[in-house]
Symmetry: C2
Subunit: 730 residues, 2 copies
């Protein structure tokens, strides 16, 4: 098994997702560059640009006041990856010959997708080797480059004609995953395409989304002489030999208008080799910081690398303004929307390895704060409520019981603010942006909830992470997370620190009181998922036929809402996120209660149980859920990898590794690690960034080692179980 | 004030609803028979046929498993009420002259709508008196008859030409009330119209609804010589004189195909006078049984008559298979759907006055039992769940939290079964149909709920009558009503009586145990509307601007669901329906708690508080809410009378009178009355039917009198406060 590549010989829809290259701005998904040579099933051929969306109206059977009226939808764009070939005027296709060999590869070290084909012409027996390579630049976010390289394998040569253009309708439509995308005709969305000639080998095209009127500019360049055809395609001719001939096509993508200045031209006309070298350099730096090296478990090794690489591809390293969509830029699922997955599942990898990127994620939310304030106002409240799913900051969900009511999104963002700060001590961020995010979300909760004389501070009519209940009262996850946030705000800051937000003494006291009196229903160590959960009918999941999972596609919500059944971790997630708040006995009791009634129908679930199991010392359970998480897309475990990769499971892989297996925690005072290697792992090394310094950690079954860093005291206990990093001085 | 008519000189959209004539099958709404003479605003011109509906697909922003895929919609039909007139070839319209006088009248004694106009031709000064009269026959449900009568007022006469046809697009479209009806083009719904000539004066037309393929047959007859024009209209000429000339147009309506046999022809060719006489006779009988005669309060007198007449018009006295739509046949509101209003608000008038009609209502549900069983199965349950809104028995609601979750519909139907039986002792019905309805609905509840070791039998995730909360646990109304039903079933029957339904000993015991252990949260006399209600934020309704009512059109459901605020009576309704279950102190405590937080945004609300107030001896509150109820549509108190009359308020008027002011109750053993006359009322007489006999009751401020009946012992207490009717033997 190659530990740095994903490879296959046959195209599948899942492979198309796995082998998508993206850099946070551009995602390119295509296994069929040469349509005439397609043998397997049709797979998606599409380009996604993070932040380029159209509106579509939302229809309600029974609309009510305040429901969102329009949805944002990431636009599936024509892919500039198409090549049609002629060898001495014979079309290179399956009518004229056959494919002798084919291979696909995505390298996580070079960041390149490569597709190799050997074609034999029937009449002459001439064999061509075709190598298609592409990358979306991690150095220059706007840049897509792709090279086609052809050589005569068993004959002297000839004349090769290449026509390069766009795949216009290459997306496989699917109703299953997101019915809103079914039957979308790209030409309906892209109202205008305006073409601008720039030079003999360079052309600009501007796409305009018909409803949102948002524009996307592209500039295309070819490095080989040729000519533009009337249909907009490009034709080049080559004197084919046994040494390869090659042509590179580069495309520049920019949201809004583009000024095609010297910088752009320079970037577009760089050689493929040069661009590829820069890509390798970026990745070398990335892996130097991020790589988790596992000895003794190749499957986990490759899985965790694929997860980290997927997170990098979804966000990029550039200074963008876009977030991470649920499927990154690998598919149409969830319409390219950003969810709470970002803060809870994906951000931890970044704040422990690339804190500048975690800060970028926070800035995406901060820039959308005005929308969140408007959203809170639509519920008659002050403060801010972030949307459940969005690209531009406006709510894009049509079913409020599982969206607007999921107010924990605010606390999830606040959690990122707090953990980011605890790890980085980035005072500049906290002062300029973090404090405002914390206060605005706390204010929202203070208004949404109320003080019940009998219970304390209650948050009624909410939906927690587990969507198999909705509109419940005092969802434990929500209440614990809100309490954590309110406590942090009121302890970290003095009221007078926040004077510019007009915090009154009364408001400050209310926040303190709400945190103190936050309600949750407990029965000894057992904590109720919400006020009514433990009163509902119990079921035995084993009695449900396997084919009936995921339950939401087989049962009416009124069936699921009435049962003690979970789609995904809920209270346990709070326990994983806030380890300082719960005793081991509590975690054990609630794990034992909730795990057997959790379907893991959401890809967000197994990681959390893995972490809890690891902390409880249940090594078998931990590695089982860890493997399930890292293989979510490599083994298509949710059955819908074709619609895009599960970024939350990719983030989940890393937190399962770090928080679960390595026992990583952090609070205001220090970071700790309490690693346990799964059976078979003989060694594991990885890095963390803490308070501005890099620490390299090596774990073996019997020893711990930490190197790097000077500003923290490093303590390893005598039993070689626990590492503590404590800042020497603030 | 005329106490038997509704009259006006100006057309308004509200008047069109108030003056609709209907007979349970046909509803005719039109104030503009002669389009050329319309002066006021455009008002609805439409015919509704109870049970004639089309399907339309329901669109969901986010559909989930088991959601209804199509909606039934009562088809707004072209109205055959149009007449265009020419006097000596001059069009009788507002270009050629003016209307000197106009008057509209609906008589509750004759059952006739009458529209009188005086038109003066500008050029000649000639004046015409035109009288348009129509009725939908209460004797022969399929029959609509209408007469146009014209005379020369101030001139000798001339030639009058009348063209009679259909108003095809006469409905005023409104988005406000039911967005699903906005922009409906009748021609989209009615795919085909097939015309069949039957005789020189008679023609058949069949309408076919395009999606449901349901057919409606009509036969039209004119009693005056004339000719069919190519556009399908009818033209007649008259030798106009000072004595009136008249033409009668009759139309036969039948769901499905019609055989135009001798009976149909005979009915169609009867003279207007004869049909009108039959109508008067039916109404005479109706009022003999039903009339409530009030001395001293004309407004209430007319209001209660209008309500009773409205109930009669909505249901008819024929042997139909249709229920009562929320707006009867007076408007497009709620798409012609039947709701729980029927059983709880409208049926009482019928079971106390016309029990054969109450039985008919029950049979409408019984015939739809198979659909209700399928619906229960869609939730994985046995038994039957009746749809929240329907015409044909299939669910027609697009928002399950306020429809499917409102499972109290089953108990509401069961309540009608029980009260109907207690009043009639109709053993034939109970054995053949009632028992099955009770058992099927109880079985559903047993499956929907569960036994919680701490609480007892719980019904989680339901919505009660008050729709300003949804998906709550243990809605008090629902739980009390279900308990009542389960108790009645298990006490009235022995298990062995129900052997044909395969009731096991275990199931029977579970039913008994569920009834015994039915949970509700109580705090002394205060009963919680649901498990979380009392924990929610309290608000002061007086702080909300008047313009923001009804709240549902100004606030997001997540605002309303979190507050202690009611759209309508909820727990109080259970107290009103089940007076035997609650002490006066309980009623008082809960009235005082809930009334101030009830917006009465639903027209179903004031009646219930009126009854509770009356029983508590709060005469002022009782008469205030009573007047609000009887004037709901006469004074357009909900602001949407234009979209149809509020049948639930019409039923509510009667129960407010009977249960509230007259203190009427019934149980297994007897019926009792404890009347209190409101201030100003000097005398009140009315009838009740109890166990097959009619009782006439006369109430004055100081005396009670009962006459009629021989099989019950009549007891009036010494203080002249309480009447008890006790069956002498069973």
């Amino acid at each position: 098994m190659s530990l740095w590549t994903i490879e296959a010989d046959q195209p599948t829809r899942e492979l198309a997702s796995q082998l998508t290259v993206s850099n946070g701005l551009i995602g390119v998904k295509d296994l069929t560059e040469i349509p005439g040579l397609r043998r397997g099933p049709q797979t998606d051929t599409v380009v996604y640009i993070n932040g380029f969306y159209d509106y579509e109206p939302i229809h309600y059977g029974e609309a009510q006041f305040g429901f969102p009226q329009r949805n944002q939808m990431m636009v599936p764009l024509p892919a500039p990856t198409r090549f049609d070939l002629w060898l001495d005027d014979v079309p290179v296709d399956l009518n004229q010959g056959k494919v002798l060999a084919e291979h696909y590869q995505l390298s996580m070290r070079t960041g390149q997708f490569q597709h190799t084909l050997t074609w034999e012409e029937r009449r002459t027996g001439h064999q061509l080797e075709i190598v298609l390579t592409r990358l979306t630049s991690l150095k220059t976010a706007s840049l897509l480059t792709q090279r086609i390289q052809v050589r005569a394998l068993n004959f002297k040569g000839g004349r090769l004609r290449v026509i390069s253009g766009l795949h216009v309708h290459g997306m496989v439509q699917t109703k299953k995953f997101d019915p809103r995308l079914a039957g979308v005709d790209i030409s309906d969305i892209l109202a205008h395409q305006q073409v601008t000639p720039l030079s003999a080998t360079m052309r600009g095209t501007t796409f305009t989304a018909s409803s949102s009127a948002r524009k996307l500019s592209t500039v295309t360049h070819y490095d080989h002489p040729g000519q533009w055809l009337t249909d907009g395609n490009w034709m080049s001719q080559f004197d084919l030999k046994q040494a390869p001939v090659a042509m590179t096509k580069t495309v520049w993508y920019k949201l809004g208008p583009v000024a095609v200045d010297a910088t752009v031209k320079h970037a577009l006309t760089r050689s493929f080799t040069e661009i590829a070298a820069m890509q390798r350099a970026v990745l070398e730096t990335f892996w130097q910081t991020s790589d988790v090296a596992i000895t003794g478990d190749d499957e986990s090794q490759r899985g965790i690398r694929f997860s980290q690489f997927g997170l990098l591809q979804a966000l990029g390293v550039h200074a963008g303004q876009q977030g991470i969509a649920a499927k990154g830029l690998t598919g149409s699922g969830y319409s390219g929307h950003y969810f709470w997955d970002t803060e809870i599942y994906e951000a931890p990898f970044f704040y422990w390895n690339h804190p500048e990127l975690a800060r970028r994620l926070l800035m995406v939310r901060y820039r959308q704060l005005a929308h969140a304030e408007t959203y809170a106002q639509s519920l008659g409240l002050t403060g801010a409520l972030f949307p459940w799913r969005t690209i531009n900051g406006e709510e894009s969900s049509a079913y409020f019981p599982a969206s607007t009511a999921a107010i924990h999104i605010d606390a999830d963002i606040a959690y990122l603010v707090i953990r980011y700060y605890q790890i980085t001590h980035d005072n500049d961020f906290m002062e300029k942006y973090g404090a405002e995010l914390l206060l605005a979300t706390c204010r929202f909760y203070l208004g949404y909830g109320n003080f019940d004389p009998r219970k304390g501070f209650v948050l009624n009519t909410v939906t927690g992470p587990d969507e198999y209940t909705a509109l419940v009262n005092n969802n434990a996850y929500t209440n614990y997370m809100v309490q954590f946030e309110m406590r942090y705000l009121t302890q970290h800051f003095a009221r007078t620190d926040l004077q510019r937000f007009h915090v009154t003494v009364t408001e400050w006291r209310e926040l303190q009181r709400a945190a103190e009196q936050m309600y949750s229903e407990t029965h000894g160590d057992l904590i109720a998922q919400d006020d009514s959960f433990l009163s509902k009918r119990k079921i035995d999941l084993k009695q449900i036929p396997r084919d009936n999972f995921p339950l939401l596609t087989h049962y009416h919500p009124l069936v699921l809402y009435r049962l003690q059944v979970l789609k995904q971790a809920d209270l346990l997630l709070a326990m994983v996120l806030l380890p300082e708040q719960f005793t081991t006995a509590q975690v054990q009791t609630n794990y034992d209660y909730y795990e057997p009634i959790t379907t893991h129908d959401s890809s967000l679930s197994p990681a959390i149980y893995a972490i809890a199991a690891a902390r409880l010392g249940q090594a078998a359970g931990a590695i089982k859920f860890f493997k399930r998480t890292v293989n979510t897309d490599l083994q298509n475990l949710q059955g819908n990898t074709a619609d895009g990769l599960h970024l939350a499971a990719m983030g989940g892989s890393w937190i399962t590794f770090a928080w679960g297996l390595m026992g990583l925690t952090v609070d205001d005072h220090h970071a700790t690690l309490q690693p346990t290697l799964p059976q078979g792992w003989t060694r594991c090394t990885f890095n963390l960034r803490y308070r501005g310094e890099v620490y390299a950690i090596t774990v073996t079954p019997t020893t711990l080692k930490v190197t790097g860093g000077t500003k923290q005291s490093i303590k390893i206990d005598q039993e070689q179980r626990l590492i503590t990093l404590t800042p020497v001085s603030k």
